[in-house]
């Protein structure tokens, strides 16, 4: 604030006092959220770290076991499988979901008739309950009478996959449903980003003779990178935590083909009485997400343009 340096000393003091008051006010406004964060996130997360170093089974007093749970994790073939499933899920859904969401956002950013209707329609899956959505999708994936296989039959596919009962197709099936479910959320963010692209840039480019394709690649895409970055970080974090789709669609089956890290954590904690082991898994998941997010932040300056 260069204006401040020219103001007389008395006013500066008053402003400083005000600033101090504002700081307290800011903390005051933050407090409710902060308390919630401390009690429901910060404390449990660190409690989980301690629990992960014990053999707590929920019911008996915990015994300290050091890093045994973490060593055991490295030898647990099922943990390897749920890691792999989750990684495939993240890598498979995030790019597809983001690309489709961007395309939908671009389409709905035009002055189409029924624009509002379509925006609502695409956002609907986000607010619909996963349980209800999964029930519908289970029917879509039904091997004999499902909509999807009927369509594949019509296209001449002789033996369409038995989606949810096949170890090869169950995970892709869940990924397809998740993409459909998540497009709306990313679409809304992209729409907001698109509307923040200044019209004068497009205008200037048009005057300079840039076509729509050039304008898209050299104006829209670069101006949208902060939004893209945000959508990517959020989508990756959410995808690593995939749980309810696996629980409701397939219960992790068949043969653990759709078992994910969080589903495995839930089962160990509440069904098999291995709270300590589950906490260790939760911390490994936290570590993975932390590193992946850190890498994304580290490399953002290479492609994200702010302003």
């Amino acid at each position: 604030m260069s204006a401040q340096t020219s103001s007389p000393p008395r006013r500066r003091r008053a402003q400083r006092r005000l600033a101090r008051g504002e700081v307290w006010a800011a903390y005051g406004f933050l407090l409710p959220n902060l308390i919630g964060f401390l009690i429901f996130t910060f404390v449990p997360v660190f409690a989980a770290l301690i629990i992960s170093l014990t053999n707590w089974d929920l019911l008996q007093p915990a015994k300290w076991v050091g890093i045994r749970n973490y060593l055991q994790l490295m030898q647990d073939p099922l943990f390897g499988q749920v890691l792999r499933n989750t990684a495939i899920y993240v890598v498979g859904t995030v790019p597809v979901q983001m690309t489709l969401a961007l395309l939908v956002a671009l389409a709905l950013n035009q002055n189409l008739p029924g624009k509002l209707f379509f925006r609502t329609a695409f956002f609907m899956p986000v607010v619909a309950s996963t349980v209800a959505v999964a029930l519908v999708w289970r029917w879509i994936f039904n091997a004999d009478f499902g909509l999807l296989n009927e369509a594949l039959y019509a296209l001449g596919v002789k033996q369409p996959p038995h989606w949810l009962s096949s170890t090869h197709w169950a995970l892709p099936a869940i990924m397809i449903m998740s993409v459909w479910q998540q497009i709306g959320y990313s679409m809304v963010l992209f729409l907001a980003g698109l509307q923040g692209v200044p019209a004068h840039l497009h205008e200037a480019a048009r005057i300079d003779g840039a076509g729509p394709v050039q304008r898209f690649f050299f104006i829209t895409i670069p101006m949208l990178t902060p939004t893209t970055f945000f959508v990517m970080v959020i989508s990756v974090i959410n995808s690593f935590q995939v749980f309810d789709q696996a629980l409701i669609m397939t219960e992790g089956g068949p043969a653990n083909a759709t078992n994910t890290i969080v589903f495995h954590i839930y089962r160990n904690a509440f069904q098999y009485f291995h709270m300590g082991y589950a906490a260790a898994m939760a911390w490994v998941l936290f570590g993975i997400i932390f590193v992946v997010t850190l890498v994304q932040f580290r490399y953002q300056q290479r492609w994200v343009h702010y302003g």
């Binding site: 089974d57 929920l58 019911l59 008996q60 099922l78 289970r138 029917w139 039904n142 091997a143 004999d144 009478f145 499902g146 038995h162 949810l164 009962s165 096949s166 170890t167 992790g252 089956g253 068949p254 043969a255 653990n256 089962r267 509440f270 069904q271 098999y272 009485f273 291995h274």
Partner: protein, 414 residues
């Protein structure tokens, strides 16, 4: 005036005395809304007989019941009396009260419970609770569909081959080879029944397993027999398809399957259908072995209860002849308390045009499913996922069961 004052004083005294003498204990259970009325009837009858004890209920749906109860156990605030299953898992962790001294003191008639069932409620030689009912499985059949297909009704002499042949005849397919009416629908978690009926075992001792035995020929054959009905005959819906088509209850009551194997809890739903049906015993295995389920949930006391005497008084009422008779007369479950009164109450319950005696005779064939601590993890992470591959035809029983057995054995030996 003074008389009124004295009366008032006496009234106040009595009120205070009775208020302080009354103990409140908590009782938790799960159940659909339809299953709850007998619970409240038991409370009414109990509180009438014991005005000094008041029962507070904690009711949660099945899906969240165990998370809640375990959290309460961890916090030392578990309900005094709980409806629970997997008793050994909890007993081994010290959260349940051993009941032997209470039983001895009151001469509680433990011998009236089916002895197999009592074993599940014991751990290391101590009794931790009493079963409420047995999960007896019977063969329900749709008489109209049998008549339409010209197939003779199931008898108590049926063997697997009769079941398989009838199921095939009762299956209808459309032009594309998709099944539109199934012969038989099964429940996934009842696979041990087939193993037992074929003379095999899941583990050497269901209460304290040291060996996993499903790689033995009898078990392998049994699992493949079921898989063939699903995959080859297509007379049985796959367990995965049933998640969309509906459970055994829904498939049967809508006439889309001619036979289902399930328990007595379906009786009230089936009582409302507009076709004729009845129940028959489960078919015998190829060599004539009969086997049914021995298992079910029951009542236990928390080891952290602050009112153990009152909790025992209630537990005794709940599990004894009076409580059991209230549950038995709803006819929803075969009483675990085997007395002429409870059996009669169950047999006389509506719907009465059904051969309810089958439930009683089949209960006598009950065999324990594995219940030792740690089994739910072995089943959930190894056995069920492995069997999935047999049910969906990616592997045969002979290929997959040795793999399952190797992993399960490794866990058992730990």
């Amino acid at each position: 005036m003074s008389r009124i004052r004295i009366l008032l004083a006496i009234a106040a005294f009595v009120a205070i005395a009775s208020a302080t003498a009354q103990t409140t204990i908590t009782w938790s259970f799960w159940g659909d809304p339809g299953e709850l009325p007998p619970n409240y009837e038991v409370i009414k009858a109990f509180e009438a007989a014991h005005p000094d004890i008041k029962i507070k209920t904690e009711h949660y749906p099945w899906s969240s019941y165990f998370d809640k109860i375990q959290t309460e156990m961890a916090g030392g605030t578990a309900p005094d009396v709980m409806f629970l299953n997997q008793i050994p898992s909890y007993a081994s962790r010290g959260v349940l009260e051993p009941l032997d001294s209470y039983i001895a003191q009151d001469n509680f008639p433990v011998k009236n419970f089916y002895s197999d069932l009592m074993q599940i409620f014991s751990y290391n030689g101590k009794v931790y609770g009493f079963p409420r009912d047995n999960d007896t499985t019977v063969l329900y059949y749709n008489k109209d569909l049998f008549d339409a297909a010209g197939v003779a009704y199931p008898t108590d002499q049926w063997k697997w081959s009769d079941l398989e042949a009838a199921a095939k005849k009762l299956t209808k397919q459309d032009a594309q080879g998709r099944t539109v009416q199934y012969g038989l629908a099964l429940e996934k978690n009842k696979y041990p029944l087939w193993v037992y009926q074929n003379g095999g075992s899941v583990v050497d001792n269901p209460l304290h397993a040291t060996k996993f035995l499903m790689d033995q020929p009898a078990a392998v054959q049994a699992i493949q027999f079921v898989a063939n009905m699903i995959l080859k005959d297509k007379s049985v819906p796959s367990f995965d398809a049933m998640q969309q088509l509906g459970s055994t209850t829904e498939l049967f009551s809508t006439g889309r399957v001619a036979m289902v194997m399930t328990n007595a809890a379906r009786l009230p739903t089936f009582a409302k259908v507009d076709f004729k049906w009845d129940v028959a015993p489960l078919p015998m295995g190829p060599t004539g072995i009969r086997a049914n389920t021995a298992g079910g949930a029951g009542y236990v006391m928390s080891s952290t209860s602050k009112h153990k005497a009152a909790a025992w008084t209630f537990l005794k009422f709940l599990s004894g002849p009076q409580g059991q008779a209230i549950f038995a007369k709803t006819g929803l479950a075969v009483p675990a308390y085997n007395s002429p009164e409870t059996t009669q109450a169950f047999v006389n319950a509506p719907p009465t045009n059904v051969n309810r005696q089958v439930f009683i005779s089949e209960t006598a064939n009950g065999r324990l499913f594995p219940v030792f601590p740690g089994w739910s993890e072995i089943e959930g992470t190894i056995v069920s996922p492995g069997l999935d591959l047999v049910w969906n035809g990616e592997k045969t029983a002979a290929e997959e069961l040795p793999i399952i057995a190797k992993q399960a054995q490794a866990k058992l030996s730990q």
